[in-house]
Amino acid sequence: MRFDSPAEQNVSDRMKVLGQPLRRIDGPLKTTGMAPYAYERHGVAKDQLVGYPVGSAIAKGRIVSMDIDEAQASPGVVGIVTTLEMERLPKVDWNVAYLFGGREIQHYHQAIAVVVANSFEEARAAAALIRVEYEEDQDATYDLAAVRQERLSDDVEPIDNIGDFESAYASAEVTLDATYTTPGQCHAQMEPHATIAQWDGDHLTLWTSNQMIEWSRQALATTFDLPAENFRLDSPYIGGGFGVKLFLRADAVMAALAARKVGRAVKLALPRPMSANNTTHRGLTIQRIRIGASQEGKITAIGHDNATNTLPGGDGENGARATRRFYAGENRLLINRALEIHLPESNAMRAPGETAGLMALEIAMDEMAEKLGMDPVEFRIINDTQVDPSHPERQFSERHFIECLQRGAEVFNWASRNKAPGSRREGAWLIGHGVAGAYRDAPAETSGARVSVRPDGSIRVETDMTDIGTGSYTIIAQTAAEMMGVSLEVVNVDLGDSRHPVSAGSGGQWGAASSTAGVYAACLALRKKIAERLAVDPEALEFSEGYVRYNDQQTALSELASAGSITAEDSIEFGDFRSEEYQLATFGAHFVEVAVHATTGEIRVRRMLAVCDAGRILNPMTARSQVIGAMTMGVGAALMESLAVDTRHGFFVNHDLAGYEVPVHADIPEQQVIFLEGEDPYSTPLKAKGVGELGICGVSAAVANAVYNATGARVRDYPITLDKFLDRLPEIA
């Protein structure tokens, strides 16, 4: 079905199952260890061999030679595939770096060989015996700050150049010109990349861990030069992704190449220490922000100049995106300098662009409010906009940012915050409060599903949609239960299999809204089919408690399907009105209280509140879980997460969970989340939008602003570690 106009009253509005805070239906499987993840699917293919990858030891250059004789002779080795055996394999545009093949090295730990052996230990031992001779390029650059400095005068096509920014800024009554930096960040998802591959003639099956089944099927078709139909991917459980599993990655390509070479199934996992440099990261940024405003606090000019690292062909972390549609201001100059730096591939990580962009912009807003002598909540309210500032003819479908700020201020008791930076002490601790706004677009993508009523009266839903921890299983089951009038327990959901209808997949915060809309469409098709069987107008049917009711009659679903399952399939396609006539987005406000130790500078986050405006919430429990998880990642980004760059050799040094530090239990306080009541009929028939990325947007800046408020020391260089302000702490009385 097409979604060509705003949703009206429909079956999903019943909200008996949808909208309820229901436990995730995959909970029992996950807490008993029975949910199967990619690397452990021993049963799917017989006689699996084990592959172990070899990564490049240089960041840029070429391989002169590879000596695999010793490895080949090592015990248990069945075969070795090296990158020199083939030309560089083609890739789709979603991937920036090439995944395998050829002599050229684009980045450190690029996959260059895979050793296949009977056991993991044998494969690993043999991999260590491969000798590689490299020729390193001397012109490679790994230092973003240096390259940015050299290329500041480059003519870059702005993202937005509206009005006359330079004049407006020059004549503004109050101005801010500040530069912020964010480091590379690692997804650090708990499950490493892993794939089991098996060929049957020229057909390949991959049991893997991937967020976007269809994208990866298309990518495989390109890479292996075979029709997409020849590939099957199966990815029912995914141990976290956050963007690092959006695209086809080297684990899948290596497993496929290895399986082809040895003629048997091969399983392969990327070892954790290879993940950071072999796969992707959130790019580093250096962001210069200039804001001009009137004395009254109206923004008249806003400029955001973002520099970020990328390999050729990528966008990096486009921080300037965040400024496009968030605040009003007639004169705007937004630039993204995607600079070619020969670090590994920078690509999407949870809310790409907005995360790093708001880390900077929302500190700038705080600094500006201070210059104006205004409450930062008030300053943001004054500069709210109900139209897309880059296309003022387009309204936001729903935008309740002001309400987020006001509600948050009230619940957080913002009025009693510390008002003068560095002035509130509780014992040994300096107490500070910070606020930041959150913005993230709410896109939707075509999404399909197949729904059946089975002879036992149960409902089965099949779609290639994935659940990366987000709760897809649960909200899809809720949607089908609501639409077909059954209880959640009798809905069976099968996800992540490319044999199922193509869905939107998990990415860009569109998964929940799009995939449930697809299930809605398929359920409507099934209802229609049932109506046809009963020769009744579908509008006259009522589905409830496992029965179809019409004209004073009722039939059990099990009876209808007693001769065999009734199945329908459909897909939802979103009309242009959704993206062209309106701007759809989600909004939020984050409030944070921190304590900073007055003598040591140690930072403790004490309480956090998020107020979110994201349309109808399909399941408050899974949605809340998304938001608090994202807030936690935001605390990590604010206070500790940073990929350390070796600017001599071009790699990330802290490429494991010992060195790349993410928050732990003791770092995270009580977190409160409020969802504003509301629906967005312009979004989907279910009037829902995503929240998984909104949750991280702005959090880090709220923490940063709170640290400033506690200490009076402004840090513009993330992560905010105590060494960056220790010498600026207030004098101890």
Binding site: T31, Y37, M190, H597, S625, L657
Partner: protein, 485 residues
């Protein structure tokens, strides 16, 4: 190959695996029990947490461990409980039930490890009822990373599970196999793999002499990373964790000093009660050493023999004037700990020797110990700088000053110039400033991801400032606890 006999989720089990097999590989690859996950293979994330049970009177006491870095052969005669074992006949364990109810799981990959940590906590609470304080919760969960949920739902589950009815099932305390695996090694000089598990010091030193090329393993918390991270093959191993003499703590007098001989195989967890009573500052440090899983496995002897410059206990032991006993077939010798560390990962231990015991002298009257660990993260982290200060104050003057640092040199090392500066000084700002200056003589630290040279030097000096402040205004001293809220 050698046979291991152990209880697996209440049922006797026997299998043959090579010495370098970890419990995680045993489970996932040999037994096809894949509920236990591999997230990092380095003991950092806790996704592979399992419970290991040992006989304690009529019941088994379970402790959590990282299966990825624990040798499978150490299971001999013990009880391994995995995520698959908890639910019986469709009834979930309260840890599982509570995790579902409190929405403590998202992607689910860390969940089995978290459930197992909760299981050991639950077991602990039923055996030794005591309030579930924030500190206890933090300790129980600190070794489990989660990237999805935001942690508080897991904490909620930990609190919730205790309100759920539970009857300890019989399988949890099934009879343990008593057979020991003290197999003789037929030809230790050959390249044949072995995992020897001597029970006495005599047997250990004999093996050590016969097979000096073999590696010694206690908790495996560092050694095993050589296998998982550096791709080394650990196929000849001598397990010290069952050597009776290495497992005792004896209060005694040595060279006229009262104190304790602590067996090299005593784990951090086992040391906690002794340190709580006699060296609270040391006990406080233990709470921040690794994670619960690591503390349950790691040993004092291993921390010393490993000779890492960033091990947590050596600087404290140096400050306390500890001695280390080295044993071989020829007998034993004792040396001051500072004479044990020679250079980066180089020690005075000969190829045929083992660290058998450590002597910690009892604190003499009025002496004090301060220990400060600086690491980037509150828990589950390695020190950037660790400073340990031992001293005695008599009439306002410092005596017997012993100061040692980790993370400042190639070995854990005493700050002798700074010690000399403070020895016999009154507690004045000037004296401490002088000590800070002397620190430049003592150390020229290096830069790495845990801290730059400048940061390390500055932070180490700041610890002198902190010591001065705490001595000059004792009521102002603040020990940071995890929850400042």
């Amino acid at each position: 190959m050698a046979t291991i006999a152990f209880l697996l989720n209440g049922a006797p089990h026997q299998c043959e695996v090579s010495p370098n097999t970890s419990i995680l590989t045993l489970l996932r690859e040999h037994l096809a029990l894949t509920g236990t996950k591999e997230g990092c293979a380095s003991g950092d994330c806790g996704a592979c947490t399992v419970a290991i049970g040992e006989q304690n009177a009529d019941t088994h006491t379970f402790t959590s461990a990282n299966a990825c870095i624990t040798p499978a052969h150490q299971l001999q005669g013990r009880h391994l409980v995995t995520i698959e074992g908890l639910a019986k006949e469709g009834r979930l364990h309260p840890a599982q039930e509570a995790m579902i109810e409190c929405h403590g799981s998202q992607c689910g990959f860390c969940t089995p490890g978290i459930v197992m940590s909760l299981f050991t906590l639950h077991n602990d609470l039923t055996q030794r009822p005591a309030p579930l304080t924030p500190e206890r919760l933090e300790a129980a969960l600190g070794g489990n990373l989660c990237r999805c949920t935001g942690y508080r739902p897991i904490r909620d589950a930990a609190l919730r599970m205790n309100d759920m009815p539970y009857e300890r099932p019989q399988w949890q305390d099934a009879a343990l196999s008593t057979s020991e695996n003290d197999a003789e090694i037929t030809d230790p000089t050959a390249k044949t793999p072995f995992f020897a598990q001597p029970l006495s010091l005599a047997a250990l030193t004999r093996l050590r002499q016969e097979a000096p090329q073999a590696r010694l393993v206690a908790g495996g918390t560092d050694l095993w990373l050589e296998s998982t991270q550096r791709l080394a093959s650990l196929d000849q191993l001598i397990d010290v964790s069952r050597v009776a003499e290495l497992l005792t703590v004896e209060a005694t007098t040595f060279e006229g000093q009262p104190g304790w001989w602590i067996g090299a195989g005593v784990t951090y967890t086992q040391l906690e009660p002794l340190f709580e009573e006699h060296f609270p500052a040391f006990a406080h440090l233990l709470h921040r050493l690794g994670s619960q899983q690591i503390r349950n496995r790691g040993t004092l002897g291993g921390n010393i023999a490993n000779a890492s410059p960033i091990g947590d206990t050596p600087p404290v032991l140096l400050a306390l004037g500890a001695r280390v006993e080295l044993a071989s077939v020829k007998g034993s010798r004792c040396l001051a700990l500072e004479n044990f560390f020679l250079d980066y990962k180089q020690t005075a231990m000969a190829a045929d020797e083992v660290v058998s015991r450590i002597f910690i002298p009892q604190a003499i009257e009025r002496s004090q110990l301060r220990v400060w660990k600086l690491s980037k993260r509150r828990e589950d982290d390695i020190s950037a700088v660790l400073g340990a200060f031992s001293y005695r104050i008599e009439q306002g003057v410092l005596h017997d000053v012993r100061i040692a640092f980790g993370g400042m040199a190639a070995t854990p090392k005493r700050a002798q110039a700074a010690e000399a500066t403070l020895e016999g000084s009154a507690i004045t700002a000037d004296a401490f400033r002088a000590a800070q200056r002397s620190l430049d003589e003592d150390f020229q630290p290096m830069s790495d991801v845990r801290g730059s040279q400048h940061y390390r030097q500055q932070a180490a000096k700041n610890l002198f400032e902190r010591l001065y402040l705490s001595l000059s205004a004792p009521d102002r001293e603040v020990m940071l606890h995890a929850y400042a809220h």
